[in-house]
C-alpha cells in the first residue's frame, strides 16, 4: 500500500513537470459566441484540409476573448480573439502594456439581427420607430412625453396586428444588445420624434435606450436557444435572433420585416436591411511564426472558398464582406492595426 502511494505521488510530480516544457502545436481561439459557429466551421475545414491539427475554439464572450488576447505573449495565451464588436482603445492599451504590440484586425463579414415570432402567429412589419414606441420607458404621444401607455402592437400603429406587446431582447452583456440599442432603439427614437422631445426637455439622447420595466420587455441573458424556448412558450412574444439562428429554425419562426425589408443575406449585404453589424477576429502577430498553421488559418478563414458569398459561412448565415479582397491582402501582408481614433 505504502509503495503504491509513493509511486503514485512520484508519477504525479513527473506528469506535472513534463507539461511545462511541451510546445503547443494547435491554434487557440477564444471569444464571441456569435462568431463561434463560423470559427468552428472554418476550424473543422482547416483541420480536414491542412496538415495542422484542428484549432481549439472557446466561447465566452467578445470582451472575455479580447481580455485573454491581451494577457500577454506566450504559449499559454490565446492566438486569436473572436469579437462581435470592434476592439476598444482600452483593450489595445492593455495589450500594449502586456507586451502584445501588434494586433491584426480581420473583418470576416456581417451578421444580421432579426425579429421573429412564432410560426403560426400573424405577420409583423416593423419600423425602428415601432420598436421604440413598444419598449421605451417614455414615448411621445400627442406631442407629450408620457410613460409608455401601449399594451398592444395595433395601439402603436393601426396596421400592426392586435397582439399584446411582449419582446425577448438580448441582455446587456450581449454584443447583440449594443446593435439593438443603436440601430433600433436610437434610430426609432429619432424617427418618431421622441429624441427631439427629450432634448427639448433638457434630457440626453441615451435616455432613448431606457426601457419600460412593466414586464413587456424581457432581457434574455442566455443564448438564442433560450429566446426560442421563450417564444415557443409565449405565442405572442417576439424574439431577437441572429440571422443564422433564424435560418436554422425557419420551420419554427416567422420573421418580421424592418422598414419593409425582409432580412436575408442579400438584403443585409446590400445595406437595405438596417440592423446588422460587422464581425471581427483579432490576431496576435507575435504568434504568427511561432504557432504552426496560424498564418494559414487566418488566410483560410478569409479565403473566397470559406468567407466568400458562395462559401459555407454564407450558407450558414454570415453576410459576406464586399471588401473581402482587401482583407485578404491585409492578412497576407500581416498589416497590424493602428490606434483607434
Amino acid at each position: 500500500m505504502k509503495k503504491y502511494l509513493g509511486s503514485c505521488a512520484v508519477a504525479a510530480i513527473v506528469l506535472a513537470t513534463a507539461g511545462v516544457v511541451q510546445a503547443r502545436d494547435q491554434i487557440q481561439i477564444a471569444g464571441s459566441s456569435t462568431v463561434l459557429p463560423y470559427a468552428s466551421i472554418v476550424a473543422e475545414a482547416f483541420g480536414e484540409n491542412f496538415e495542422f491539427p484542428t484549432p481549439v475554439v472557446e466561447s465566452g464572450g467578445s470582451g472575455a476573448g479580447r481580455k485573454k488576447l491581451c494577457e500577454g505573449v506566450g504559449e499559454n495565451t490565446v492566438d486569436i480573439a473572436n469579437s462581435s464588436s470592434r476592439i476598444k482603445q482600452s483593450d489595445i492599451d492593455t495589450c500594449a502594456a502586456n507586451g502584445v504590440k501588434e494586433i491584426q484586425e480581420v473583418r470576416i463579414g456581417y451578421d444580421g439581427i432579426v425579429f421573429a415570432s412564432e410560426i403560426n402567429g400573424p405577420e409583423y412589419a416593423f419600423t425602428p420607430a415601432d420598436w421604440h414606441n413598444a419598449l421605451a420607458a417614455k414615448v411621445l404621444k400627442d406631442g407629450q412625453l408620457v410613460d409608455n401607455p401601449y399594451k398592444a402592437w395595433n395601439e402603436i400603429r393601426a396596421d400592426l396586428p392586435a397582439q399584446p406587446i411582449l419582446a425577448f431582447i438580448p441582455g446587456t452583456k450581449h454584443g447583440t444588445r449594443e446593435v439593438f440599442d443603436e440601430k433600433v432603439l436610437i434610430a426609432g427614437c429619432e424617427e418618431n420624434g421622441t429624441a427631439e422631445a427629450i432634448k427639448a426637455a433638457g434630457g440626453e439622447e441615451k435616455e432613448c435606450m431606457t426601457l419600460r420595466t412593466d414586464g413587456v420587455s424581457v432581457d434574455i441573458d442566455g443564448d438564442y436557444t433560450e429566446t426560442l424556448a421563450r417564444v415557443d412558450a409565449n405565442k405572442n412574444g417576439i424574439g431577437v435572433f441572429g440571422l443564422s439562428f433564424y435560418q436554422n429554425n425557419t420551420d419554427k419562426l416567422r420573421v418580421g420585416t424592418m422598414g419593409g425589408v425582409v432580412p436575408s443575406v442579400e438584403t443585409i449585404a446590400s445595406g437595405e436591411y438596417p440592423v446588422s453589424r460587422p464581425l471581427y477576429f483579432y490576431v496576435k502577430n507575435a504568434h504568427l511564426d511561432v504557432i504552426p498553421g496560424l498564418q494559414e488559418y487566418v488566410e483560410f478563414f478569409v479565403s473566397d472558398e470559406m468567407a466568400g458569398p458562395n462559401g459555407p459561412l454564407a450558407a450558414y448565415g454570415l453576410v459576406s464582406d464586399p471588401e473581402l479582397a482587401k482583407t485578404q491582402a491585409a492578412v497576407k501582408a500581416r498589416t497590424p492595426m493602428g490606434a483607434l481614433n
Binding site: 503514485c8 506528469l15 480536414e48 484542428t54 481549439v56 472557446e58 494577457e71 490565446v78 436557444t225 429554425n249
Partner: protein, 451 residues
C-alpha cells in the same frame, strides 16, 4: 399539584371507557400520524414525479441520438480528379481538398438514383446531393489518403445523411415543417423515402456517437462524444491518482497521529468548509495558479484534473475519516497489544477494514467531479475540440473536452438537431454516473463490516 389533577383526569377517562375504543386523545395522535405519513408519501411522490418527468424528457429527446441514418453509395475514386499527376504520392493526393470530393459524391448519388430508376420532380443533382452530410467529403478524403492504392476503383462507402433527413426518420422533421424549412424541402424527404425503399438509405445504431469528435454547427449528424469521453476519462484518472493517496494520507494523519490542538481544529473546520465551497471558485483558483502561474496549457485535462482534485479532496478526506473512525478502538488496541507499532496497526489492520468506506467515498467524489462543469468553464475546456488527445501521459496536456461541457456546448447550438445530441450526451453521462454509484453500493454491501 396541578400535575396530579391532570393525571387524575386521564385516569378517570381511561377507567370510564373500554380499552378497545380509542379516546379523543388517541384518535388525535393517530390522525397526526396518518397526516404525517400522507405528507411523507406526497413528498416522495413529488420527488419521483419530478425524476420521471426529467428522465422522460431526456430519454424522449435523446434516445434517437443512438440511431443514425446512412446512405450507402458506390463511389468511383476518379484518378483524373484525385491524383492528377498519377504518382499516387500521398503528398500530392493531400493537395485535393474536401471541396474536390463533393462532385464525386454528387455523381455517385446521381448514378445510384439512375440505376434504381429513382427520380423526384423539380429536383436537380445539387439539391439531391444535399441529402448527404457535409462530413461525407472529409471521410472520403481521409479514406483515400489512408488507402491511395484504391484510386481508380469503385469503393462502397456508408456516408452520413444530412441532419434534416436524419431528423425525418426520428420524427423531428415532418413534410409540413420541411416546407417551411430553408435547409430542406419536402422533395428531399420524398427522395429520401424512395432511397430507403431501394435500400440505399438505412437507419441503424450510431456507434460514431461514442467515438466521433465534436462537429461544427453545419453538420450535427457527425458530432459525437469521443473527445469528451476521453477528456473526462483522463481527468478522472488524474483525480483518482492524485486525490486518493493525498486524501487518504491526510485523513490517516489527522485521524490517527495529529495531536488535538487549535491548529488541527482549524484544519478540520477548513476541510469541512472547502467541501461546501462552490466549484466555480476552484476554477478561478485553477486559472490563476495552474495556467497563469505554473504555465500549464489551456483546455488541457491536466489542469481540469488538478482543479477537480482540489474539489474532490475534501469529500474524500471527510469520507475517509468517517471510515477510519468507524473501526473500533479494540482493533487498534489488540494490534498494539501484540507488539505492533502504531503505523503497523494502522496499515495492517485499521486501513484494510476502513477500505470499503474509503473507496465508496472516493467513487462518490469522482462521480461528483465527473458531472462538474463550472470550474472547467474558466480553464478553457468549454471549447470546440476536434482533435483526439494523445495517449497518456502526453495526452493529459492536449486540449480536450469533457462530458458535461459537451452537453452545455450542444444546448447552445442553433441547429435543432443538437437538442437530440445534448440529451443523448446526458444519457451517456447518467449511465456513467449510475455505474459508478452502483460500484460504490456493491463495495459497501459486500465488504463493509459492522461492529
Amino acid at each position: 399539584m396541578t400535575d396530579v389533577s391532570v393525571f387524575g383526569n386521564v385516569a378517570k377517562d381511561i377507567q370510564t371507557k373500554s380499552i378497545l375504543e380509542p379516546d379523543a386523545r388517541t384518535r388525535r395522535r393517530n390522525a397526526a400520524e396518518a397526516r404525517f405519513r400522507l405528507w411523507g408519501a406526497i413528498a416522495v411522490a413529488l420527488g419521483v414525479l419530478a425524476l420521471v418527468g426529467l428522465l422522460a424528457s431526456i430519454f424522449s429527446n435523446g434516445l434517437s441520438s443512438f440511431r443514425q441514418t446512412y446512405v450507402t453509395l458506390d463511389v468511383f475514386l476518379d484518378p483524373a480528379k484525385l491524383d492528377k499527376d498519377g504518382s499516387r504520392d500521398p503528398a500530392s493526393i493531400a493537395k485535393v481538398s474536401t471541396f474536390g470530393y463533393t462532385p464525386l459524391i454528387e455523381k455517385a448519388l446521381a448514378e445510384a438514383m439512375a440505376a434504381k430508376g429513382i427520380s423526384v420532380d423539380g429536383m436537380n443533382a445539387k439539391a439531391a446531393s444535399e441529402l448527404i452530410s457535409k462530413e461525407a467529403p472529409a471521410s472520403l478524403r481521409n479514406h483515400v489518403i489512408a488507402n491511395p492504392s484504391e484510386i481508380g476503383e469503385t469503393v462502397s462507402f456508408d456516408l452520413l445523411a444530412s441532419g434534416r433527413i436524419d431528423g425525418y426518420y426520428k420524427g423531428r422533421v415532418t413534410m409540413e415543417s420541411a416546407a417551411l424549412d430553408r435547409n430542406t424541402s419536402p422533395e428531399q424527404l420524398q427522395l429520401a423515402e424512395r432511397l430507403k425503399e431501394a435500400g440505399i438509405l438505412t437507419t441503424r445504431f450510431n456507434w460514431d456517437f461514442f467515438t466521433a469528435p465534436d462537429a461544427s454547427d453545419t453538420r450535427p449528424e457527425a458530432s459525437g462524444l469521443g473527445v469528451a469521453i476521453l477528456g473526462s476519462a483522463y481527468m478522472m484518472l488524474i483525480v483518482l491518482v492524485l486525490s486518493l493517496p493525498l486524501g487518504v494520507a491526510a485523513s490517516i494523519y489527522l485521524e490517527e497521529f495529529a495531536p488535538q490542538n487549535r491548529f488541527t481544529d482549524l484544519i478540520e473546520v477548513n476541510i469541512a468548509n472547502l467541501a461546501a465551497v462552490p466549484s466555480i471558485v476552484f476554477g478561478i483558483l485553477g486559472l490563476a495558479v495552474f495556467i497563469n502561474f505554473a504555465g500549464l496549457p489551456q483546455s488541457a485535462p491536466i489542469v481540469g484534473g488538478l482543479v477537480l482534485t482540489l474539489m474532490t479532496l475534501p469529500t474524500i478526506i471527510i469520507a475517509t475519516r468517517a471510515a477510519l473512525k468507524a473501526v473500533p478502538p479494540s482493533i487498534r488496541d489488540a494490534a498494539l497489544g501484540v507488539g505492533a507499532s502504531k503505523m503497523q496497526s494502522i496499515f495492517h489492520h485499521v486501513l484494510p477494514l476502513a477500505m470499503p468506506g474509503i473507496l465508496t467515498g472516493t467513487i462518490i467524489g469522482l462521480a461528483q467531479a465527473l458531472g462538474e462543469t463550472a470550474p472547467l468553464l474558466l480553464i478553457g475546456m468549454v471549447a470546440f475540440v476536434r482533435e483526439y488527445p494523445a495517449g497518456p501521459p502526453d495526452g493529459f496536456f492536449d486540449p480536450a473536452s469533457a462530458l458535461p461541457v459537451q452537453v452545455y456546448n450542444w444546448t447552445q447550438r442553433g441547429d435543432p438537431a443538437f437538442v437530440e445530441r445534448a440529451s443523448g450526451a446526458i444519457i451517456v453521462l447518467l449511465v456513467f454516473l449510475i455505474l459508478m454509484n452502483l460500484i460504490a453500493i456493491i463495495l459497501r454491501r459486500r465488504f463493509e463490516r459492522r461492529w
